[in-house]
């Protein structure tokens, strides 16, 4: 392809070069209508998906009700393994959310152009993942109706939460994360809700989207405050990507258990979180891209970049595993050495240990191949391995450090109960249900941002015949070799 900008791209088919971030020569009107179509079009087959996930969500609430009314003994938890599934799932889910914030906030500040089509999607994922994560610590209390004791409110008892403990930090970090993610997501949605209002086929939908759009008119006065406000919100969400999982890792790191008491935990947890989150982005994006035919806004360039992120974070996680084992040996502490070098690789849960090394460190190396990076099917499979591997990593961290207490007389083996498995599967279902509803009712590709980016790119491409504009042109039309 030559230098004439996007008008030259003849068809809306698969990209030839695979480097473009947006394809096709449609007008803004066609682009908007195409991206709003999933909101109006009937969903004949996805109806069944909604029914299945709703059934799974029902199973989740049934299991939680059973737990709350009967007691925590229904779970496999024992002493010394008191944390078990609830905390594994909590850490796993909250970690998944991190990629969404990473994409929407950090890549926004870095002005990365491949962020634009997938950020709304990833933010939705974040929001729903935090909802799942939030269930676990509350029910793990055993008496979830006392969860409000974590809030400093003036009470008859005259006592306050102990803020020197990392557990109240968690409460504040997670609730802040949920609120900020929601605000950021909703702010970004306003112009697109207005577009949905203005293209809605029926008066009822026009009214509903009109209410949620809050009367957005795209007024120059709106944009003036919105542009800078959205950017600063992104700037504030950025430290949250790093702080939330760091604070959660402190729940572990400030204890004195072998395998937990380690300074590498905050960066290790953050990298793992972004790793599993990008895997979740792939898991959701690949099917959605195929079902809604988003090939010209979610191009192979997007897949390629996400795959590279997986590779980078995968290596950080691998490095953390190596450091963990090395530091245990280097410390000379017999308990650390036992946990990291005997218990994990050679005892009861050895299968989990070697399994996660395979899933998290070996499988991802296939992404060195450019062909696999741009193949949706291959990426989907790798992402599935990463999801399982990252869940297994949290299992290993929590269970192996706990089940061998300091005194051999306290040693116990942990096995999850069927309620544990139901709750885990139920949260996956509930997550998918929320996500399907999001795809059904919310414009999940940022239309306004996409139109703006398309104009910027075509401007930059036209403005300079070579040099500075070359990169913009390449991003626009996919001609970079």
């Amino acid at each position: 392809m030559t230098s004439a900008a996007l008008e030259a791209t003849p068809e809306r088919d698969e990209p030839t070069g695979g480097e473009a971030v947006i394809l096709g020569h449609r007008s803004d009107l066609e682009l908007t209508d195409d991206l709003l179509a999933p909101l109006w079009r009937p969903w004949p087959r996805l109806k069944y998906a909604l029914m299945v996930t709703a059934a799974g969500a029902f199973a989740l609430f049934a299991a939680l009700t059973y737990t709350a009314t009967t007691g925590i003994g229904l779970w496999g938890n024992n002493i010394p393994v008191a944390w078990a599934f609830a905390i594994i799932n909590f850490v796993w889910w909250i970690g998944i959310g991190h990629a969404g914030t990473f994409i929407s906030a950090i890549l926004l500040l870095l002005e990365v152009s491949w962020r634009t089509s997938i950020n709304r999607f990833a933010e939705g994922m974040t929001l729903f993942a935090i909802v799942q994560a939030g269930l676990f610590p509350v029910f793990h209390l055993g008496r979830p109706w006392f969860a409000y004791w974590l809030v400093p409110y003036p009470s008859e008892m005259g006592v306050w939460p102990n803020f020197k403990s990392s557990l109240p930090w968690d409460v504040v970090a997670v609730s802040t994360y949920l609120t900020v993610s929601f605000l950021f997501w909703y702010t970004g949605l306003l112009p697109d809700l207005a577009a949905a209002r203005d293209r809605a086929p029926t008066l009822r939908r026009r009214r509903i989207y009109g209410i949620f759009a809050l009367g957005w008119r795209g007024d120059s006065r709106h944009w003036r405050h919105y542009r800078i406000g959205y950017l600063v919100l992104g700037g504030l969400a950025t430290p949250l990507v790093l702080s939330v999982h760091s604070i959660i890792s402190l729940d572990f790191a400030i204890t004195q258990l072998p395998g937990w008491h380690s300074t590498i935990f905050p960066p290790y947890f953050v990298a793992g979180a972004i790793y599993s989150g990008f895997a979740m982005v792939v898991t959701l994006m690949v099917p959605a891209r195929a079902i809604f035919r988003l090939h010209d806004v979610v191009t192979k360039n997007h897949l390629d970049n996400i795959a590279k992120m997986l590779l980078v974070t995968g290596w950080i996680v691998t490095y953390a595993y190596i450091v963990e084992a090395f530091m245990a040996w280097y410390s000379g502490n017999r308990y650390e050495m036992y946990t990291a070098l005997v218990d994990r690789p050679r005892a009861t849960y050895a299968g989990v240990y070697w399994g996660i090394l395979f899933c998290n460190c070996v499988v991802v190396q296939s992404l060195w191949s450019r062909r696999l990076r741009t193949s949706p099917a291959a990426l989907f499979v790798v992402a599935a391995f990463v999801q399982v591997g990252m869940w297994g990593e949290r299992f290993m961290l929590i269970i192996t450090s706990l089940h061998r207490d300091f005194l051999p007389s306290s040693w116990r083996v942990y096995t999850p109960s069927w309620i544990d498995w139901t709750i885990l599967a139920g949260t996956c279902s509930f997550f998918l249900l929320l996500f399907l509803l999001f795809l059904r009712f919310v414009p999940f590709i940022p239309i306004s941002e996409l139109k703006e980016m398309r104009r910027e790119l075509s401007h930059r491409a036209q403005a300079s015949a070579g040099g500075v504009g070359a990169r913009a042109r390449a991003e626009l039309e996919g001609s970079r070799a």
């Binding site: 007008s27 803004d28 009107l29 908007t32 400093p152 005259g158 006592v159 306050w160 939460p161 102990n162 803020f163 020197k164 990392s166 109240p168 930090w169 504040v172 970090a173 609730s175 802040t176 609120t179 900020v180 605000l183 909703y186 702010t187 112009p191 207005a194 577009a195 209002r197 203005d198 293209r199 209410i211 809050l214 009367g215 957005w216 008119r217 795209g218 007024d219 120059s220 006065r221 709106h222 944009w223 003036r224 405050h225 919105y226 542009r227 800078i228 406000g229 959205y230 600063v232 919100l233 504030l236 969400a237 430290p239 949250l240 702080s243 402190l250 306004s448 139109k451 703006e452 104009r455």
Partner: protein
């Protein structure tokens, strides 16, 4: 904007041209309605106060977050945990930080809406026929009738800049008011 002339463009370049010309002629009460921020218009507007509001809210939030912890654990009910100081600064940082971020973001959201005059479900411009494409692919400019330089000749400037059409919004059009 209550009364005035609005004009529709099919590309942001036309809007930018009209905006630049009217600004050069001394017009100050100009508005635009666009599907995405148009650089030539948004960059000419005065700076937004939103970041300052967020900064103040963030500092207040962080201070309050710290104060609550200090008051609870070091003042009202002195809590000795493992011999750490009652006012244990490092332990109080995470919550203070998160409270600051939370307050700043809440304030930012409210400020974006509040300064934009939202939520406001009805506005006079919605009455203009075809205005619903302002959120899709059309670019509208509005010249307020209260502008000291306002005259009906503004339509010619707009049309010369490439406007598809011009319309009068608001109460009676000036031609009808004058005999």
């Amino acid at each position: 904007m209550r009364d005035g002339v609005v004009a529709e463009f099919d590309a942001p370049e036309g809007l930018e041209r009209a905006f630049a010309r009217l600004t050069a002629l001394g017009y100050t009460r100009l508005r635009s309605w666009t599907p995405y921020p148009v650089r030539g218009v948004v960059t000419r507007l005065p700076e937004s106060l939103v970041p300052w509001i967020m900064l103040v809210a963030g500092l207040v939030g962080a201070s309050l977050g710290y104060l609550v912890q200090w008051w609870c654990n070091a003042h009202d009910y002195r809590l000795d945990v493992g011999g750490r100081p009652y006012n244990s600064i490092p332990a109080y940082i995470p919550i203070a930080f998160e409270s600051g971020v939370l307050a700043a973001c809440l304030a930012g959201f409210v400020a974006i809406l509040g300064l934009s005059g939202l939520p406001r479900l009805y506005h006079r411009v919605f009455e203009i026929e075809g205005f619903e494409r302002a959120s899709i692919d059309r670019f509208w400019i509005g010249v307020d009738a209260r502008d000291p330089r306002f005259e009906d000749g503004v339509r010619e400037v707009l049309e010369a800049s490439g406007a598809l059409r011009c319309a009068w919004i608001g109460g009676d059009a000036p031609q009808q008011r004058l005999p």
